[in-house]
């Protein structure tokens, strides 16, 4: 590890990188030093790289492999499953559950994002004002986001219980008859979306609040000197300035929401009659939710979900780079 001997090099890391890349004239002497540096540098990232290959690369490869073969429980355990190309994908595209699952995923995601973001924005603006307890209360808002999802999901299940839930009891007080939140196909998707919005609000609040903090107060002063009211000030000044942060919040929220599985599975298991099935629960249902697991088609649904997530994931990375630049 002793690569410091006789260092005539600029020690700053920028200098070394620059030297290694741009100075062919002094190569001979620099090369060996730069090489040791590179070795040390790679020594430190090697464990994570190996880890990524083993524990991301391998499962993902296995997942693709699963989706391209025809598996029975027997061949899953013993090997030797037949290669069938895209057959599993054809099967799921023709499965009557697939399109509704895709549609539910879209509705679930869009509704969650819309409400999480708008409620998060209103709260961020509210908590951006100065008042007693503002910090403490804002911290308390984080709690739902930190809880295990199964805790939130089971609490919401009981709150939305048709006969004994507190929500229906409250509705009864104002004269609305009991709603079968989790057991009727009309309401199941709405119910899981409500729970998911509740969980996602803190994340939006925190990100948008930090975005507000980075807007210089001069801008506000200038705007209020110009006589802009608070409504106008928000739409003309704050909102446009928040656009990069908003984009990041929404895209990251989108990627997170596509992944949501726990809440739906615990509250409704995608039911009744697939009324709240999304791609994530559909995939799980195929692979792990039945007595006769279908890992091949389950993996195929999963890969469709990955593709969708990656499209928006790349958009997120672009937005982040743009905001950083």
């Amino acid at each position: 590890m002793n690569e410091t001997t006789g260092s005539a090099l600029p020690v700053s890391d920028r200098g070394v990188a620059g030297a290694a890349e741009n100075a062919p004239a002094t190569r001979g002497r620099l090369n060996r030093h730069a090489m040791t540096r590179q070795l040390a540098a790679w020594g430190f990232v090697l464990p994570v790289t190996v880890y990524l290959l083993l524990f991301y690369g391998w499962p993902l490869y296995r997942n693709i492999d699963l989706s391209l073969r025809h598996y029975t429980v027997r061949s899953f355990v013993q090997g030797g499953a037949k290669f069938v190309g895209l057959q599993n994908y054809r099967t799921i595209f023709h499965d009557p559950t697939f399109l509704p699952a895709l549609e539910h995923t879209a509705i679930f995601t869009a509704a969650s994002l819309f409400f999480q973001f708008s409620i998060g924005m209103v709260l961020a603006l509210f908590f951006f004002q100065h008042f007693k307890l503002a910090r403490t209360l804002r911290a308390l808002f984080l709690v739902p986001w930190l809880l295990p999802l199964i805790v939130s999901a089971s609490t919401w299940s009981w709150m939305l219980n048709s006969d004994s839930g507190v929500v229906n009891a409250a509705l009864g007080v104002v004269g609305v008859g009991p709603v079968h939140w989790l057991t009727s196909p009309t309401w199941a998707l709405t119910s899981v979306t409500i729970a998911n919005i509740w969980i996602g609000i803190p994340f939006n609040l925190v990100l948008l609040h930090s975005g507000l903090q980075s807007i210089s107060s001069d801008v506000y002063e200038a705007a209020s000197l110009d006589g802009a009211g608070s409504w106008k000030r928000f739409w003309l000044v704050t909102f446009p300035l928040l656009r990069p942060v908003s984009a990041i919040t929404l895209l990251l929220g989108l990627v997170y929401t596509l992944k949501v599985f726990d809440i739906i599975w615990i509250m409704t298991r995608g039911g009744p009659a697939d009324a709240s099935t999304t791609l994530a629960t559909y995939s799980y249902q195929l692979g792990f939710g039945t007595l006769l697991p279908q890992f091949d088609t389950g993996a195929a649904v999963g890969n469709v979900l990955i593709l969708i997530a990656l499209v928006f994931g790349l958009a997120y990375i672009r937005a982040q780079r743009k905001a950083a630049a």
Partner: protein, 271 residues
Amino acid sequence: MARRRWLRTVVGVVLTALMLFPLYWMINVSFTKDNRMRKSPPDLLPVHGTLAGYRAVMHQQLPYLATSLVVALGTVIVTVVLAAPAGYSLAKLRPRGRGALTFLLLIVQMIPAIIMAFGFYAIYLRLGVLNTIPGLIVADSTIAIPFAVLIFTAFMSGIPGELLQAAEIDGAGTLRRFLSVVLPVSRNAVVTVSLFAFLWSWSDFVFASTLDISGHHQPITLGIYHYIGNNNQQWNAIMATAVVASIPAAVLLVLAQRYVAAGVTAGAVKD
């Protein structure tokens, strides 16, 4: 002016109370007697409370809680040990291909855990590590490691170069500089990463329900899941378990609030 501020505080308290109502309800139900559980309207306060739910937790859920603790601590260790050196290298040592590696770390965070679970299941079945604690730790660490490397990189980029140069002039090699300079000053990053790794692993349901569903040692998320599946009537026991399972989140929020907020934003927005 002062009155308006007070009004805001009142509004803030009301909003917070609304937001946290489900938590209150969880606690309320956890103390409710079985025979009052299906009463209409439900009791808004646990006036005729019972500790039966918590007694059930003590009798049935302790092994699950212990497993969760072991798995979560294991995940923290694996995460910090792998991610901190990588963060140091990416921030200060400029390995070739770091752009690609960073990109990869961002991308893998988009992959839903369900899909990873399929691959892990197939692999674990072959290797015979299904339903084991180390298997679960490895799977859970995939949730935390990419995030952890990026946090460490962001944090360690802020360590002044002079500090490292001084150590280098004193003859400290790369490893020595990492261990005795970088790590000690990165305490905050270590705390943030550990905290999230712990919480995510503690909360994991996807990997537990796929890779450990027939295990002898199962985490608390499965403890709750079995409860919901088996005895649908004992909601005080279910909610009492939920309350106990929420304790780490509550404790961490109280003790390490600033780290939590820092982690939430650092994961998404780079300053």
